[in-house]
Symmetry: C2
Subunit: 556 residues, 2 copies
């Protein structure tokens, strides 16, 4: 148990990616190789798939997590491996990790223990360059905006009303608020600006919701970049660089295929933020999996209040997907935290706190039921969990009639989720009544209130004066008939990260709205969302190294 | 003749890259594929090559160019194809184009006409991601510097004395002079900063001079990033992130193999600026070519006063390379400009101006002779050249005893340089007395003066007070025993871009010195060098597009 994720990954003898792809029926000439163990599905192959029938879609979501996360990716990978073990033709669709945070605290975002996706180092570093393509497309827009102003500003853009920011895939707090265009006149017009981390860019969100390259180009054109001095919106199509952006994204739009430690095929493609964006891998990857496999297991960022809600209200609605089952990951640790235990004390046995904390799980189950979907609770076992705690949690599920399965995929890989896999297969046989929670044609206020009441359990929503004024602008500009993307803390069902369990009698406050017109949703912010992380006191980068044989150490 | 470079490139039916590689003896399992037509030579293969004998090395350089360039890359590609046509086992080593300028005015940097390297679109877009890796490694350092200061500044770095800038592969003038770390305290320490274009970064220069990954890591450690409040130098090794940087560069250090339109193998790897850096592809790529092929044709940025001088005084010295022959590219157009014709009038026949301008060519020939190397003048024919002009230039060469060859590779590919290839083979049979022009142990002033007098034909060098003070600092810090990298206008032999021909009786002024300790040279700036370009009034990005079949238009 003392091996690191990197060590486990490095011990794996990978299969050539064409062999992994062949398992699921992808011919080797439909792969664009990136080395021996990574490939993109070819442009033509993706097109060919378009008319194929789709298999079953399984969403993995979770309760509100501790700050360490509850193992959604690990469960997704382990469940996919288990489905393959019980003879089901299965694939997984996962998000691409961002490189920037790898240098900070957070490490790999490709599962953990014996439920990982490999080559782990490559997936966590440049992978196939998708993030870099997004960074380039995004920053091309910014260079075009500032060049347009510098060269005469025909569009009459107000430099103080530019909403489209630069981006970098780096944790760099000093780039949050900057002033550009200083020095001589030849350096352009001076103005305030800032960088987002690449995964927080709207380009990323649009990539993940696009149906194909032409749709992506159209989405680029529709992105709002600024307002004129007369408050008229300026879109990328006004700058005429959506064609160049699409050109830059020609490879990035193709899903990436890699393998689990058990050599099963996984598509990893796109990874938008789960607060100001919708936190799911690309629609293109999910649909490719569905057309290739009988079972597709995928995940959505954060807990079910954010991830599952957006998956079901935004992604499935816009992409016309019909999910078949939901796995709700719960951990003893997180439940104890919801029962009042401090993060530092989560290692101590505490059955009562665990049972108190189950109310958080109960609310997320209620949410999935409201979406009309069958579910199973997956207890993701940690080494610190005691037998008594596990037993208590199993009993709570039984007593309340919730299907449940103990998962030990971190320690055991696919065989740690055989029972879960069998239960998922059963759920997928059921008819379900999935439907999004709200009608997009309702008002912005109504849509947000529906989410707050039905998903968070709030009494209602307060809108600040700023938010109210923005709603008025959105209505005026015809931007109101879009789904809502809530930006809220992932730690709590409420908009206050320190409120644990299943709070009642509270309201949430919407402070700001942002139109992500290319992505195709309206972001509602309930607090300040950091879209450019910083590095910690002791960044992981200090401990990273590579030796003369190319072996990497210190990448977690 | 009316086809664009892109159209010619798109008409080419490419061979699978493993077939191209096999021609030169690279086994297919030693390739790391990036799609079907690009690959990196594997880490292990590069190691295996290390003890092999090296073939002949041919440098392609040029006279001082017009602003349109004189066709060095085109000649390099055409000559390589011609050598293959006459049965010589040959490769080409070229620089990687920067993506940023592609959106501006300048297009492809992979040759032109029928002497091109393909897949042209990929080479000019993300290629295999080397530029993005450099951007990431560079910006990691910057994030680490600012984070270090924010987290307590143990090293006592003076935020006003940080010399290491951020970078992006984008033409974005508004990022030249910026203020970062604004807003709340959580955003770090406010200070002045700026972005270079990625190819102008020292990371790029170091990549191109490194012998292997461990040497590159060592070079990263040695890079100067700042000074303390007490003016003590701070290096990357003090920040302890050279290991993480090397990890980020693990793939970028491997040379990329592609093909010419005639399916001959080309390594494209690294492309540093030719002013503040040395302007040549990587040592690793050049040596790999030399060990695989009997003839390696390579190029160096700008005219012989900058490119060849740096190739011979920096790259060949540091990498212990011994070149065998030099091709000096001259064009009727550029010679007429040196003879006093304005750029707009270069289409008009003007034999007298051409002959007057030959003095510029004469000086570059003299420089190559001083390096002890045999040479041939390649007249790169343009459609606007008249028969009389070509004849006059040929006669001038004959009368002055200069070996010469007319090259029509742009229109005819390799068969346009058969004569040139035969002459190059002859030159390579000769013994030569190549040696760098100066001893690195001489003083900084002496080394610069040697270059100015011997290569530019200057009477001497003036150092500004600032430069003198910097030299004193460099001497004190022990940074003076390095070769010099001159940053001078490429348009003229002098440091004044409007002085054509072969000026005499002039001095050059060194205004500033910069220590590139990781690259391993001292940069001497004779004027302001722009390290972040801007976009023009009508950027090329406006005309770029991609259709539903993935076909690109507007990429020049």
């Amino acid at each position: 148990m003392s091996k690191s994720d990197l060590e486990i990954a490095q011990e794996c003898v990978l299969e050539p990616i064409e062999k992994v792809a062949a398992k699921i029926g992808i011919p080797s000439d439909c792969l664009e190789h990136y080395g021996k163990y990574k490939a993109k599905l070819s442009f033509d192959f993706i097109k060919e798939l378009e008319n194929k029938e789709m298999g079953k879609l399984v969403l993995v979501t979770a309760i509100n997590p501790t700050k360490a996360g509850e193992g959604k990716s690990t469960t997704t990978v382990g469940l996919g491996d288990a489905l393959n073990q019980i003879g089901k033709k299965s694939m997984m669709a996962l998000r691409e990790p961002s490189l920037g945070p790898v240098f900070g605290l957070k490490g790999g975002a490709a599962g953990g223990g014996y439920a990982q996706v490999v080559p782990m180092e490559d997936i966590n570093l440049h992978f196939t360059g998708d993030m870099h393509a997004i960074t380039t497309a995004n920053n091309l827009v910014c260079a075009m905006i500032d060049n347009h102003i510098h060269q005469g500003n025909e569009l009459n853009i107000d430099p103080e009303k530019i909403t489209f920011k630069r981006c970098l895939d780096m944790n760099d707090r000093t780039l949050r608020d900057i002033t550009i265009g200083q020095g001589s006149k030849a350096n352009g017009v001076e103005r305030k600006d800032g960088f987002n981390i690449t995964v927080a860019s709207e380009v990323m969100a649009a990539l993940c919701l696009a149906s194909d390259l032409m749709d992506l180009k159209k989405r680029f054109g529709e992105m709002l970049v600024a307002y004129t001095y007369e408050d008229k919106p300026v879109y990328i199509k006004d700058l005429k660089c959506e064609g160049a952006m699409a050109m830059v994204m020609k490879d990035a739009i193709l899903p990436n295929i890699v393998q689990t430690l058990e050599h099963n095929p996984v598509l990893i493609h796109g990874g938008p933020f789960a607060n100001i964006a919708h936190g799911c891998n690309s629609v293109i990857a999910t649909k490719a999996c569905l057309r290739l496999a009988d079972y597709t297991v995928t995940e959505a960022g954060f807990g079910a209040d954010l991830g599952a809600e957006k998956f079901l209200d935004i992604k499935c609605r816009l992409a016309d997907l019909h999910p078949n089952a939901v796995v709700i990951v719960a951990t003893v640790r997180a439940l104890k935290q919801h029962g009042g235990v401090a993060y530092e004390d989560l290692k101590e046995e505490n059955v009562q706190a665990l049972l108190d904390g189950c109310q958080n799980l109960a609310k997320h189950i209620d949410t999935i039921q409201q979406f009309g979907l069958p579910y199973v609770v997956a207890i993701n076992q940690f080494v610190s969990d005691t037998d008594k705690e596990i037993e208590a949690l199993e009993n709570w599920c039984k007593e309340n009639g919730h299907p449940m399965s103990l998962s030990t995929v971190w320690a055991n890989g696919g065989k740690g989720a055989i029972d879960l896999a069998n239960k998922v297969v059963e759920l997928c046989e059921k008819e379900n009544t999935y439907a999004p929670l709200y009608d997009v044609n309702k008002s912005i206020e109504e849509k947000i209130t529906t989410i707050a009441q039905k998903v968070y359990g709030a009494d209602g929503v307060e809108f600040t004066e700023e938010a109210k004024a923005q709603i008025e602008t959105f209505n005026k500009n015809g931007w109101d008939k879009l789904p809502i993307c809530m930006a809220k803390t992932q730690m709590s069902l409420s908009d206050n990260g320190s409120v644990m369990g299943r709070p009642t009698g509270f309201k949430i406050t919407v402070r700001e709205l942002r139109p992500s017109l290319g992505a195709g949703f309206i972001v509602a912010l309930t607090g300040k969302v950091l879209t450019m992380p910083g590095l910690p006191k002791h960044p992981s980068a200090l401990d990273m190294d590579i030796d003369e044989n190319g072996k990497i150490t210190g990448l977690f």
